[in-house]
Protein backbone atom coordinates (compact mmCIF):
# COMPACT_ATOMS: atom_id res chain seq x y z
CA UNK A 1 0.00 0.00 0.00
CA UNK A 2 1.19 3.48 -0.86
CA UNK A 3 1.74 5.84 2.06
CA UNK A 4 0.91 9.53 1.87
CA UNK A 5 2.44 10.43 5.22
CA UNK A 6 5.02 8.56 7.29
CA UNK A 7 5.94 9.76 10.75
CA UNK A 8 8.89 8.36 12.69
CA UNK A 9 9.47 8.91 16.39
CA UNK A 10 8.07 12.44 16.33
CA UNK A 11 8.58 14.42 19.53
CA UNK A 12 7.48 17.95 20.27
CA UNK A 13 8.05 20.04 23.35
CA UNK A 14 6.95 23.65 23.76
CA UNK A 15 8.98 24.30 26.92
CA UNK A 16 12.45 23.27 25.85
CA UNK A 17 12.25 19.60 26.83
CA UNK A 18 10.51 19.67 30.22
CA UNK A 19 7.28 18.15 28.97
CA UNK A 20 6.42 16.60 25.64
CA UNK A 21 3.07 17.20 23.91
CA UNK A 22 4.01 14.59 21.33
CA UNK A 23 6.19 11.89 22.80
CA UNK A 24 7.42 9.54 20.10
CA UNK A 25 4.71 9.21 17.47
CA UNK A 26 5.12 6.47 14.87
CA UNK A 27 2.38 6.57 12.29
CA UNK A 28 1.65 5.93 8.64
CA UNK A 29 -1.29 7.40 6.76
CA UNK A 30 -2.13 5.38 3.66
CA UNK A 31 -2.93 7.18 0.44
CA UNK A 32 -6.42 7.05 -0.98
CA UNK A 33 -8.04 6.20 2.37
CA UNK A 34 -9.80 7.98 5.21
CA UNK A 35 -7.83 7.90 8.44
CA UNK A 36 -9.53 9.03 11.63
CA UNK A 37 -7.42 10.51 14.41
CA UNK A 38 -9.17 10.30 17.75
CA UNK A 39 -8.25 11.12 21.32
CA UNK A 40 -9.34 13.26 24.25
CA UNK A 41 -9.05 17.01 24.20
CA UNK A 42 -5.52 18.27 24.65
CA UNK A 43 -3.72 15.09 23.58
CA UNK A 44 -1.97 16.89 20.76
CA UNK A 45 -4.12 16.08 17.74
CA UNK A 46 -4.01 19.61 16.34
CA UNK A 47 -0.30 19.83 17.07
CA UNK A 48 0.27 16.61 15.12
CA UNK A 49 -1.67 18.00 12.19
CA UNK A 50 0.39 21.20 12.19
CA UNK A 51 3.52 19.09 12.01
CA UNK A 52 2.25 17.25 8.96
CA UNK A 53 1.59 20.62 7.35
CA UNK A 54 5.06 21.85 8.24
CA UNK A 55 3.62 24.72 10.29
CA UNK A 56 5.49 23.48 13.36
CA UNK A 57 9.00 22.11 13.48
CA UNK A 58 9.50 18.83 15.37
CA UNK A 59 11.77 18.81 18.40
CA UNK A 60 13.03 15.49 17.07
CA UNK A 61 11.90 12.85 14.61
CA UNK A 62 10.99 12.68 10.94
CA UNK A 63 7.92 13.42 8.88
CA UNK A 64 7.75 12.21 5.31
CA UNK A 65 5.02 13.44 3.00
CA UNK A 66 4.82 11.73 -0.39
CA UNK A 67 8.07 9.95 0.37
CA UNK A 68 10.22 12.99 1.07
CA UNK A 69 11.30 14.41 4.40
CA UNK A 70 9.74 17.77 5.25
CA UNK A 71 13.00 19.05 6.70
CA UNK A 72 14.80 18.29 3.44
CA UNK A 73 12.42 20.32 1.34
CA UNK A 74 13.29 23.83 0.27
CA UNK A 75 10.95 26.75 0.88
CA UNK A 76 9.79 26.50 -2.72
CA UNK A 77 9.10 22.78 -2.48
CA UNK A 78 7.21 23.29 0.75
CA UNK A 79 4.93 25.83 -0.89
CA UNK A 80 4.33 23.49 -3.82
CA UNK A 81 3.57 20.68 -1.37
CA UNK A 82 1.13 22.80 0.60
CA UNK A 83 -0.79 23.56 -2.56
CA UNK A 84 -1.55 19.84 -2.64
CA UNK A 85 -2.94 19.89 0.88
CA UNK A 86 -6.31 21.27 1.85
CA UNK A 87 -7.14 22.01 5.45
CA UNK A 88 -10.39 22.64 7.25
CA UNK A 89 -9.40 24.26 10.53
CA UNK A 90 -11.11 23.70 13.86
CA UNK A 91 -12.87 27.08 13.67
CA UNK A 92 -12.91 27.33 9.86
CA UNK A 93 -10.35 30.19 9.97
CA UNK A 94 -12.01 32.14 7.18
CA UNK A 95 -10.45 35.51 6.36
CA UNK A 96 -12.85 37.82 8.09
CA UNK A 97 -12.23 40.83 5.87
CA UNK A 98 -13.20 38.91 2.73
CA UNK A 99 -16.60 37.81 1.51
CA UNK A 100 -17.52 34.14 1.15
CA UNK A 101 -16.69 34.00 -2.53
CA UNK A 102 -13.45 35.96 -2.07
CA UNK A 103 -12.35 33.45 0.54
CA UNK A 104 -12.73 30.58 -1.89
CA UNK A 105 -11.15 32.62 -4.68
CA UNK A 106 -8.11 33.46 -2.57
CA UNK A 107 -6.04 30.26 -3.07
CA UNK A 108 -6.92 30.34 -6.75
CA UNK A 109 -5.80 33.92 -7.29
CA UNK A 110 -2.60 33.13 -5.36
CA UNK A 111 -1.60 30.03 -7.30
CA UNK A 112 -3.62 29.84 -10.48
CA UNK A 113 -2.99 33.17 -12.14
CA UNK A 114 -2.65 31.25 -15.38
CA UNK A 115 -6.41 30.86 -15.37
CA UNK A 116 -8.67 33.70 -16.43
CA UNK A 117 -10.62 35.59 -13.82
CA UNK A 118 -13.89 34.20 -15.11
CA UNK A 119 -12.58 30.64 -14.95
CA UNK A 120 -11.37 31.11 -11.38
CA UNK A 121 -14.75 32.47 -10.38
CA UNK A 122 -16.39 29.51 -12.05
CA UNK A 123 -14.23 27.06 -10.05
CA UNK A 124 -14.90 28.88 -6.78
CA UNK A 125 -18.61 28.90 -7.47
CA UNK A 126 -18.51 25.18 -8.27
CA UNK A 127 -16.67 24.34 -5.03
CA UNK A 128 -19.23 26.29 -3.04
CA UNK A 129 -22.00 24.43 -4.79
CA UNK A 130 -20.40 21.06 -4.03
CA UNK A 131 -20.28 21.90 -0.34
CA UNK A 132 -23.87 23.07 -0.40
CA UNK A 133 -23.58 26.85 -0.22
CA UNK A 134 -26.24 28.83 -2.03
CA UNK A 135 -25.36 31.65 -4.37
CA UNK A 136 -27.24 34.15 -2.22
CA UNK A 137 -24.54 34.02 0.49
CA UNK A 138 -21.65 34.74 -1.87
CA UNK A 139 -21.23 38.38 -0.93
CA UNK A 140 -21.69 37.96 2.83
CA UNK A 141 -18.82 38.25 5.29
CA UNK A 142 -17.93 35.21 7.43
CA UNK A 143 -19.32 36.95 10.51
CA UNK A 144 -22.72 37.13 8.83
CA UNK A 145 -23.20 33.41 8.22
CA UNK A 146 -23.76 30.58 10.70
CA UNK A 147 -21.04 28.33 12.11
CA UNK A 148 -22.15 25.41 9.97
CA UNK A 149 -21.98 27.53 6.85
CA UNK A 150 -18.53 28.77 7.82
CA UNK A 151 -17.36 25.15 7.93
CA UNK A 152 -18.77 24.57 4.45
CA UNK A 153 -17.06 27.66 3.08
CA UNK A 154 -13.86 26.55 4.82
CA UNK A 155 -14.16 23.18 3.10
CA UNK A 156 -14.85 24.81 -0.25
CA UNK A 157 -11.71 26.89 0.21
CA UNK A 158 -9.70 23.81 1.17
CA UNK A 159 -10.90 22.08 -2.00
CA UNK A 160 -10.19 25.02 -4.30
CA UNK A 161 -6.83 23.74 -5.54
CA UNK A 162 -7.97 20.08 -5.80
CA UNK A 163 -5.66 18.86 -3.03
CA UNK A 164 -4.24 15.34 -2.78
CA UNK A 165 -4.36 15.33 1.01
CA UNK A 166 -7.32 16.68 2.92
CA UNK A 167 -7.06 17.40 6.63
CA UNK A 168 -10.04 18.14 8.82
CA UNK A 169 -9.54 19.41 12.38
CA UNK A 170 -12.65 18.48 14.35
CA UNK A 171 -15.04 19.36 11.55
CA UNK A 172 -18.15 18.56 13.56
CA UNK A 173 -17.33 19.81 17.04
CA UNK A 174 -19.91 22.35 18.13
CA UNK A 175 -22.47 21.44 15.49
CA UNK A 176 -25.95 20.02 16.14
CA UNK A 177 -26.62 16.32 15.31
CA UNK A 178 -28.21 17.09 11.95
CA UNK A 179 -25.36 19.32 10.84
CA UNK A 180 -22.90 16.77 12.20
CA UNK A 181 -24.35 14.09 9.98
CA UNK A 182 -24.35 16.50 7.07
CA UNK A 183 -20.67 17.35 7.54
CA UNK A 184 -19.82 13.66 7.94
CA UNK A 185 -21.57 12.91 4.68
CA UNK A 186 -19.81 15.87 3.13
CA UNK A 187 -16.47 14.32 4.08
CA UNK A 188 -17.48 10.97 2.59
CA UNK A 189 -18.80 12.56 -0.60
CA UNK A 190 -15.74 14.74 -0.94
CA UNK A 191 -13.52 11.71 -0.50
CA UNK A 192 -15.39 9.80 -3.19
CA UNK A 193 -15.44 12.79 -5.51
CA UNK A 194 -11.72 13.48 -5.27
CA UNK A 195 -10.34 10.20 -6.55
CA UNK A 196 -7.00 9.32 -5.07
CA UNK A 197 -7.27 11.86 -2.27
CA UNK A 198 -6.08 11.02 1.22
CA UNK A 199 -8.19 12.24 4.10
CA UNK A 200 -7.16 12.70 7.71
CA UNK A 201 -10.01 13.57 10.02
CA UNK A 202 -9.42 14.65 13.61
CA UNK A 203 -12.32 13.92 15.88
CA UNK A 204 -13.27 12.93 19.36
CA UNK A 205 -16.48 11.35 18.20
CA UNK A 206 -15.94 7.60 18.18
CA UNK A 207 -19.11 6.76 16.30
CA UNK A 208 -18.16 9.09 13.47
CA UNK A 209 -14.73 7.48 13.44
CA UNK A 210 -16.25 4.03 13.03
CA UNK A 211 -18.63 5.26 10.35
CA UNK A 212 -16.17 7.20 8.23
CA UNK A 213 -12.75 5.73 8.83
CA UNK A 214 -10.95 3.09 6.84
CA UNK A 215 -8.34 3.29 9.57
CA UNK A 216 -8.57 4.67 13.06
CA UNK A 217 -5.69 6.05 15.10
CA UNK A 218 -6.06 6.57 18.82
CA UNK A 219 -3.79 9.13 20.42
CA UNK A 220 -3.16 9.41 24.14
CA UNK A 221 -0.54 11.30 26.16
CA UNK A 222 1.45 12.10 23.04
CA UNK A 223 1.68 8.49 21.87
CA UNK A 224 -0.22 6.31 19.40
CA UNK A 225 -2.22 3.88 21.49
CA UNK A 226 -3.60 1.85 18.63
CA UNK A 227 -3.84 2.10 14.87
CA UNK A 228 -6.19 -0.22 13.05
CA UNK A 229 -9.52 -0.90 11.42
CA UNK A 230 -12.89 -0.74 13.12
CA UNK A 231 -12.78 -4.50 13.84
CA UNK A 232 -9.39 -4.28 15.44
CA UNK A 233 -10.69 -1.53 17.70
CA UNK A 234 -13.78 -3.48 18.72
CA UNK A 235 -11.71 -6.55 19.53
CA UNK A 236 -8.89 -4.90 21.40
CA UNK A 237 -8.16 -5.86 24.99
CA UNK A 238 -6.60 -2.51 25.81
CA UNK A 239 -8.33 -1.30 28.96
CA UNK A 240 -8.21 2.39 28.03
CA UNK A 241 -9.62 1.95 24.55
CA UNK A 242 -12.40 -0.33 25.85
CA UNK A 243 -13.46 2.48 28.20
CA UNK A 244 -13.37 5.02 25.38
CA UNK A 245 -15.50 2.76 23.20
CA UNK A 246 -18.00 1.95 25.97
CA UNK A 247 -18.45 5.64 26.70
CA UNK A 248 -18.94 6.37 23.02
CA UNK A 249 -21.51 3.62 22.59
CA UNK A 250 -23.45 4.58 25.68
CA UNK A 251 -23.66 8.18 24.54
CA UNK A 252 -25.19 7.39 21.17
Amino acid sequence: MEMAVEIQDLKKSFDGGKSFVLNGIDLVIPADKITMLIGFSGTGKSVLMKHILGLMKPTSGNIKVFGKNLSQRSEQELIALRCQMGVLFQHAALFDDMSVIENVLFPLSEHRRDLSKARRLEIARHKLKVTGMDREHDQKLPAEISGGMQKRVGLARALALDPKILLYDEPTTGLDPILTEMVDNLILDTHKLHKGATSLVISHDLMAAFRLGDYIVMLDKGKVLLRGTKEEFLNTDNEFIRKFIDKGIRRS
Partner: protein
Protein backbone atom coordinates in the same frame (compact mmCIF):
# COMPACT_ATOMS: atom_id res chain seq x y z
CA UNK B 1 17.59 41.93 29.93
CA UNK B 2 17.77 38.69 27.97
CA UNK B 3 14.18 39.28 26.95
CA UNK B 4 15.06 42.77 25.71
CA UNK B 5 17.78 41.47 23.40
CA UNK B 6 15.47 38.71 22.24
CA UNK B 7 12.78 41.28 21.36
CA UNK B 8 15.25 43.47 19.48
CA UNK B 9 16.66 40.50 17.61
CA UNK B 10 13.35 39.03 16.59
CA UNK B 11 12.01 42.42 15.53
CA UNK B 12 15.09 42.99 13.39
CA UNK B 13 14.64 39.59 11.76
CA UNK B 14 10.98 40.30 11.17
CA UNK B 15 11.90 43.65 9.68
CA UNK B 16 14.50 42.25 7.28
CA UNK B 17 12.00 39.61 6.16
CA UNK B 18 9.36 42.27 5.54
CA UNK B 19 11.74 44.33 3.45
CA UNK B 20 13.19 41.34 1.58
CA UNK B 21 9.71 40.22 0.59
CA UNK B 22 8.42 43.68 -0.26
CA UNK B 23 8.70 43.24 -3.99
CA UNK B 24 8.47 39.46 -4.16
CA UNK B 25 5.89 37.84 -6.40
CA UNK B 26 2.93 37.93 -6.35
CA UNK B 27 2.68 41.68 -6.09
CA UNK B 28 0.74 43.13 -3.16
CA UNK B 29 0.21 46.54 -4.78
CA UNK B 30 -3.59 46.65 -4.40
CA UNK B 31 -3.23 45.72 -0.72
CA UNK B 32 -0.59 48.34 -0.23
CA UNK B 33 -2.76 51.04 -1.73
CA UNK B 34 -5.59 49.97 0.55
CA UNK B 35 -3.27 50.27 3.56
CA UNK B 36 -2.03 53.66 2.35
CA UNK B 37 -5.60 54.84 2.27
CA UNK B 38 -6.17 53.57 5.79
CA UNK B 39 -2.93 54.98 7.22
CA UNK B 40 -2.94 58.20 5.22
CA UNK B 41 -6.30 59.29 3.94
CA UNK B 42 -8.13 58.40 7.10
CA UNK B 43 -5.61 60.29 9.27
CA UNK B 44 -5.69 63.57 7.37
CA UNK B 45 -8.37 65.24 9.48
CA UNK B 46 -6.79 64.44 12.82
CA UNK B 47 -3.37 65.49 11.48
CA UNK B 48 -4.78 68.83 10.25
CA UNK B 49 -6.47 69.43 13.57
CA UNK B 50 -3.30 68.71 15.50
CA UNK B 51 -1.31 70.83 13.05
CA UNK B 52 -3.54 73.88 13.47
CA UNK B 53 -3.48 73.83 17.23
CA UNK B 54 0.21 73.05 17.51
CA UNK B 55 0.97 75.94 15.16
CA UNK B 56 -1.21 78.32 17.15
CA UNK B 57 0.07 77.33 20.58
CA UNK B 58 3.69 77.38 19.58
CA UNK B 59 3.49 80.76 17.81
CA UNK B 60 1.87 82.32 20.80
CA UNK B 61 4.42 81.02 23.27
CA UNK B 62 7.34 82.06 21.10
CA UNK B 63 5.79 85.46 20.45
CA UNK B 64 5.55 86.11 24.18
CA UNK B 65 9.16 85.19 24.67
CA UNK B 66 10.56 87.09 21.69
CA UNK B 67 8.46 90.14 22.51
CA UNK B 68 10.50 90.55 25.69
CA UNK B 69 13.67 90.99 23.66
CA UNK B 70 12.05 92.84 20.76
CA UNK B 71 12.81 90.07 18.29
CA UNK B 72 9.27 89.37 17.11
CA UNK B 73 10.49 89.40 13.51
CA UNK B 74 12.01 86.01 14.16
CA UNK B 75 8.86 84.35 15.44
CA UNK B 76 8.14 82.97 11.97
CA UNK B 77 11.39 81.10 11.36
CA UNK B 78 11.60 79.84 14.94
CA UNK B 79 8.14 78.37 14.79
CA UNK B 80 8.82 76.95 11.34
CA UNK B 81 12.07 75.30 12.44
CA UNK B 82 10.50 73.76 15.51
CA UNK B 83 7.60 72.41 13.55
CA UNK B 84 9.42 71.21 10.44
CA UNK B 85 12.22 69.47 12.26
CA UNK B 86 10.70 68.18 15.47
CA UNK B 87 7.02 68.60 16.17
CA UNK B 88 5.56 67.63 12.81
CA UNK B 89 7.37 64.31 12.39
CA UNK B 90 7.12 63.29 16.05
CA UNK B 91 3.45 64.18 16.48
CA UNK B 92 2.53 62.65 13.14
CA UNK B 93 4.40 59.49 14.10
CA UNK B 94 2.78 59.27 17.52
CA UNK B 95 -0.75 59.92 16.29
CA UNK B 96 -0.58 57.51 13.39
CA UNK B 97 1.15 54.87 15.53
CA UNK B 98 -1.72 55.01 18.00
CA UNK B 99 -4.36 55.03 15.30
CA UNK B 100 -3.12 52.80 12.50
CA UNK B 101 -0.50 50.88 14.47
CA UNK B 102 -3.00 49.76 17.07
CA UNK B 103 -5.36 48.64 14.34
CA UNK B 104 -2.57 46.70 12.60
CA UNK B 105 -1.54 44.88 15.76
CA UNK B 106 -5.14 44.05 16.63
CA UNK B 107 -6.01 42.82 13.16
CA UNK B 108 -2.93 40.66 12.67
CA UNK B 109 -3.24 39.40 16.25
CA UNK B 110 -6.83 38.33 15.65
CA UNK B 111 -5.74 36.57 12.48
CA UNK B 112 -3.13 34.69 14.51
CA UNK B 113 -5.42 33.49 17.29
CA UNK B 114 -8.21 32.49 14.90
CA UNK B 115 -5.74 30.38 12.86
CA UNK B 116 -6.09 32.63 9.80
CA UNK B 117 -2.31 33.01 9.62
CA UNK B 118 -1.95 29.22 9.72
CA UNK B 119 -4.53 29.06 6.94
CA UNK B 120 -2.46 31.51 4.87
CA UNK B 121 0.66 29.45 5.35
CA UNK B 122 -1.15 26.24 4.46
CA UNK B 123 -2.26 27.85 1.22
CA UNK B 124 1.37 28.44 0.35
CA UNK B 125 1.23 32.16 1.05
CA UNK B 126 4.05 33.73 3.03
CA UNK B 127 2.17 35.56 5.80
CA UNK B 128 4.93 38.11 6.33
CA UNK B 129 4.90 39.00 2.65
CA UNK B 130 1.10 39.14 2.62
CA UNK B 131 0.48 40.93 5.92
CA UNK B 132 3.55 42.84 6.96
CA UNK B 133 5.42 43.97 3.83
CA UNK B 134 2.60 46.00 2.28
CA UNK B 135 1.80 47.64 5.62
CA UNK B 136 5.39 48.63 6.28
CA UNK B 137 5.84 49.99 2.77
CA UNK B 138 2.54 51.87 2.98
CA UNK B 139 3.54 53.45 6.29
CA UNK B 140 6.96 54.51 4.95
CA UNK B 141 5.39 56.16 1.91
CA UNK B 142 2.48 57.75 3.73
CA UNK B 143 4.04 59.30 6.81
CA UNK B 144 6.15 61.90 4.96
CA UNK B 145 3.01 62.99 3.12
CA UNK B 146 1.13 63.39 6.39
CA UNK B 147 4.09 65.19 7.89
CA UNK B 148 4.09 67.58 4.91
CA UNK B 149 0.42 68.30 5.46
CA UNK B 150 1.14 68.93 9.13
CA UNK B 151 3.94 71.39 8.13
CA UNK B 152 1.74 73.37 5.80
CA UNK B 153 -1.28 73.51 8.06
CA UNK B 154 0.73 74.45 11.14
CA UNK B 155 2.66 77.25 9.44
CA UNK B 156 -0.53 78.64 7.93
CA UNK B 157 -2.15 78.66 11.35
CA UNK B 158 0.90 80.38 12.75
CA UNK B 159 0.73 83.06 10.07
CA UNK B 160 -2.95 83.58 10.80
CA UNK B 161 -2.26 84.18 14.46
CA UNK B 162 0.85 86.31 14.01
CA UNK B 163 -0.52 88.56 11.27
CA UNK B 164 -4.11 88.96 12.35
CA UNK B 165 -3.93 88.95 16.13
CA UNK B 166 -0.36 89.77 17.07
CA UNK B 167 0.07 92.48 14.41
CA UNK B 168 3.22 91.17 12.82
CA UNK B 169 3.87 92.14 9.22
CA UNK B 170 2.90 89.41 6.77
CA UNK B 171 5.72 90.15 4.34
CA UNK B 172 8.35 90.09 7.08
CA UNK B 173 6.93 86.84 8.47
CA UNK B 174 7.40 85.02 5.18
CA UNK B 175 10.59 86.81 4.24
CA UNK B 176 12.32 85.77 7.45
CA UNK B 177 11.16 82.19 7.00
CA UNK B 178 12.57 82.17 3.51
CA UNK B 179 15.81 83.60 4.82
CA UNK B 180 16.33 81.19 7.68
CA UNK B 181 14.83 77.88 6.60
CA UNK B 182 16.81 75.71 4.23
CA UNK B 183 15.22 72.95 2.17
CA UNK B 184 17.22 70.41 4.15
CA UNK B 185 15.40 71.41 7.34
CA UNK B 186 12.14 70.38 5.74
CA UNK B 187 13.78 67.25 4.32
CA UNK B 188 15.05 66.29 7.76
CA UNK B 189 11.50 66.27 9.10
CA UNK B 190 10.16 64.25 6.19
CA UNK B 191 12.91 61.65 6.45
CA UNK B 192 12.26 61.33 10.15
CA UNK B 193 8.57 60.80 9.47
CA UNK B 194 9.42 57.98 7.06
CA UNK B 195 11.65 56.35 9.69
CA UNK B 196 8.87 56.62 12.27
CA UNK B 197 6.43 55.03 9.82
CA UNK B 198 8.83 52.16 9.33
CA UNK B 199 9.25 51.82 13.08
CA UNK B 200 5.65 51.67 14.15
CA UNK B 201 4.51 49.49 11.24
CA UNK B 202 7.27 46.95 11.88
CA UNK B 203 6.76 46.89 15.64
CA UNK B 204 2.97 46.62 15.45
CA UNK B 205 2.97 43.97 12.72
CA UNK B 206 5.57 41.96 14.62
CA UNK B 207 3.79 42.03 17.97
CA UNK B 208 0.53 41.16 16.22
CA UNK B 209 2.20 38.33 14.35
CA UNK B 210 3.42 36.62 17.51
CA UNK B 211 0.21 37.00 19.51
CA UNK B 212 -0.61 34.15 21.87
CA UNK B 213 -3.87 33.10 23.42
CA UNK B 214 -7.36 34.37 22.68
CA UNK B 215 -8.99 37.76 22.94
CA UNK B 216 -6.88 38.73 25.94
CA UNK B 217 -3.76 38.03 23.91
CA UNK B 218 -4.97 40.37 21.18
CA UNK B 219 -5.62 43.10 23.76
CA UNK B 220 -2.15 42.70 25.26
CA UNK B 221 -0.60 42.72 21.81
CA UNK B 222 -2.33 45.92 20.75
CA UNK B 223 -1.31 47.61 23.94
CA UNK B 224 2.29 46.40 23.66
CA UNK B 225 2.56 47.35 19.99
CA UNK B 226 1.37 50.90 20.52
CA UNK B 227 3.45 51.53 23.65
CA UNK B 228 6.66 50.13 22.12
CA UNK B 229 6.10 52.14 18.95
CA UNK B 230 5.58 55.39 20.82
CA UNK B 231 8.60 54.97 23.06
CA UNK B 232 10.75 53.97 20.10
CA UNK B 233 9.61 56.98 18.08
CA UNK B 234 10.53 59.37 20.86
CA UNK B 235 13.91 57.75 21.44
CA UNK B 236 14.73 57.34 17.76
CA UNK B 237 13.85 60.99 17.16
CA UNK B 238 17.04 62.18 18.82
CA UNK B 239 19.17 59.52 17.18
CA UNK B 240 17.84 60.07 13.67
CA UNK B 241 18.12 63.88 13.95
CA UNK B 242 21.78 63.56 14.73
CA UNK B 243 22.40 61.00 12.00
CA UNK B 244 20.77 63.25 9.43
CA UNK B 245 22.74 66.25 10.63
CA UNK B 246 25.92 64.22 10.44
CA UNK B 247 25.05 63.13 6.93
CA UNK B 248 24.42 66.68 5.75
CA UNK B 249 27.59 68.00 7.31
CA UNK B 250 29.57 65.22 5.64
CA UNK B 251 27.97 65.96 2.29
CA UNK B 252 28.69 69.67 2.67
CA UNK B 253 32.32 69.15 3.60
CA UNK B 254 33.02 67.48 0.25
Amino acid sequence: MKKFFYEVGSTTLFFTDSVRLMFAKPSRMPDMIRHMKFIGNDSVIIICLTGVFTGLAMSYQIYIGFNLVNATNLVGPTVALGIFKELAPVLTGLIVAARAGGAMAAQIGTMRVSEQIDALEVMGVNPIQYLSSPRVLAAVLTLPLLCGIFDIVAIQASELLCVNLLDLDKAIFWNKIELWIRPRDVMEGLIKAAVFGLTFATVCCKTGFYTKGGAKGVGDTTNKGVVYSMVLIIVLNLLVSNLIRLYFSLVESF
